[in-house]
Symmetry: C2
């Protein structure tokens, strides 16, 4: 059976109406929305075909049609109008970006919140490293005879530090030497190689030193480790409950539990495309089988990539969400391009 132009048009009407109202659409209503005069009976024939081809479904015999996941997919791939944002919409986004966004740590969460208010669906946000992070430099600063500060500079320009307590007094003059040791042996290598290297040193340095080195290396390891499962932030998760498909408390709970207490398992893009859409059963997690996710990523500088995901019912307003989200992500990328390092004005990039 062939997917004629008219069938596509009908599908588009059904999808968009369902996105709008969450109600099945009948042949008569479709006939009225079609250009030219076509009787509802004709539409019914077409609907039967579309159903047979798997693009439409019927909740029950005497109800209208609703799109299937396959139907949504076709809509997203072919039928959806990728309208650019209006001036006002762009202005709104640009406004929300003005000021704000300083501390790299908070950028990701804040971006998620902004996206949330932009699309009116729950969102989540995270950061991702394109390449593995390593330690670039160590620095040990004396505090008193009972403690010192370990400063660790990472390859993505983040700098982390922690106060370390010492059990046995170490003369302060030893710290620079130990820094040197760390900088020559424990930089630019992945976390998993650190322990091996450390063992190699165990009989070359005095035990007191070794203990401290161990502690600093362990701290660095934690920092690198920590990065793999970076924090995920959600915004407006409870909004999911205002959609009629989640009026059922058990469904709502399932999804809320996933978004709030299992954030880490929310999907991440599997392709390099600037935007990816997962429709209903295309999702891996069971909790998302009845939801759709739109994901976009942006460059955050320092070889890092930010991720924003939008979660909604399968009948989510793909066209609007996709348009706003991609513009937003582009704006963020543009913005971070300008100020590669926080507070650094533009000039040549390293």
């Amino acid at each position: 059976m062939e997917l004629t132009e008219r069938k596509k048009q009908i599908l588009k009407i059904v999808v968009e109406s369902y996105i709008d109202t969450a109600e099945p659409l009948g042949s008569k209503a479709i006939a009225e929305k079609m250009p030219g005069k076509i009787s509802s009976a004709t539409i019914r024939n077409e609907l039967a075909d579309l159903g047979e081809m798997g693009y439409l479904e019927q909740p029950h015999t005497s109800a209208g049609r609703i799109p299937s996941a396959k139907g949504y997919r076709l809509y997203v791939n072919e039928l959806m109008e990728r309208r650019p944002l209006s001036e006002e919409e762009q202005a709104a986004i640009n406004d929300s970006l003005r000021g704000e966004l300083r501390q790299t740590e908070q950028v990701v969460a804040r971006a998620g919140q902004m996206a949330q208010s932009l699309v009116n669906y729950p969102t989540y946000a995270a950061a991702d490293h394109r390449s593995a992070v390593t330690v670039k430099r160590y620095e040990l600063l004396p505090v008193d005879e009972a403690s010192f500060i370990a400063v660790v500079m990472l390859s993505d320009s983040r700098v982390k530090s922690q106060l370390m307590a010492v059990d046995l007094p170490v003369e302060p003059s030893a710290l620079p030497a130990m820094s040197h040791l760390l900088n020559t042996h424990f930089t630019a290598i992945p976390a998993r190689e650190m322990n091996g290297k450390l063992m190699g040193l165990s009989d070359q340095v005095v035990p007191e030193w070794f203990l401290l080195l161990n502690r600093v290396v362990e701290y660095a390891g934690e920092l690198l480790q920590d990065d793999s499962h970076t924090q995920v932030f959600t915004s407006g998760a409870s909004r999911i409950m205002s959609f009629p498909e989640f009026r059922d408390i058990d469904k709502a709970q399932g999804l809320m539990h996933f978004m709030v207490d299992n954030k880490e398992k929310l999907p991440v893009p599997t392709t390099d495309a600037p935007m990816q859409i997962l429709i209903g059963p295309e999702n891996v997690s069971d909790a998302l089988k009845e939801s759709s996710v739109v994901m976009a990523s942006y460059d955050i500088g320092d070889n890092m990539r930010g991720l924003i995901g939008v979660v909604g019912p399968t009948r989510m307003d793909y066209a609007t969400v996709a348009a706003r989200l991609s513009y937003f992500a582009e704006s963020l990328t543009r913005m971070f391009g300008k100020r590669e390092l926080p507070a650094k004005e533009e000039e040549g990039n390293p």
Copy 2:
């Protein structure tokens, strides 16, 4: 009218049954649970009195009685048996505390999660400073001619650091001098005084220095500021939906929205008591008027105090929650007492 011993006993039975089943309890059922033989008619008389005094309510004329907020309050204050934890329960808590809890930053969130699994109600967690945090020490480390690292040690022993870009090259030798300047003028003072001090220096140092000093002081100010509205973590928020009183999706959404997207407004203790209970309408926030909150705090060292809150329906199991939570909080305090600074081993431990 007097609150006789028998009335109290009846109230206790009603509260505990309602906590257990979420169903109103009738006179006959109460009569059966009372020691000695008393007819349901007598109970009915007592119930009428208790209702008049405001301790009990009736959902509708032909239903049994349920406790009012006032009834719960009396129960919590006088009637509840403050049973200590059993050996097994204590062991379970101790087990969950073993290992874990290193990085001061993550302690709070982790503690909240642990509490969650302990009480089976949603929890939230935050940290609080007993006294204002100030900067204890600054350190500026050279990186290259385009940037340096600012390390800021805070009075609560946290150490924060960030990479700073410089616009105009500053000879590296200037950094120690600037550190000194910072350490003499910008330590141990509250954030709001910093700007004034900085202005005072504006004509005493060369403009390039001033710019950098400004940036470091600004960074420090952010750190201190940041502290006032510390992050709040929630665990198991979606669990609230499994309670019958929140089967209603709108109620559930109201509370979820509050717990997930308005965490910052969750209540904090108003007294110094080790545990505080807020019952239903005693809560300030509208969203919590139909819920109860049990809060406990623990010492985290460094003049900081951790807070754990448990959120549930008004009929939450106060006795169990209070017992577990207070034991847990005490255990945490004990634990942090032992290892004041992270990573300091206790003597004699493997």
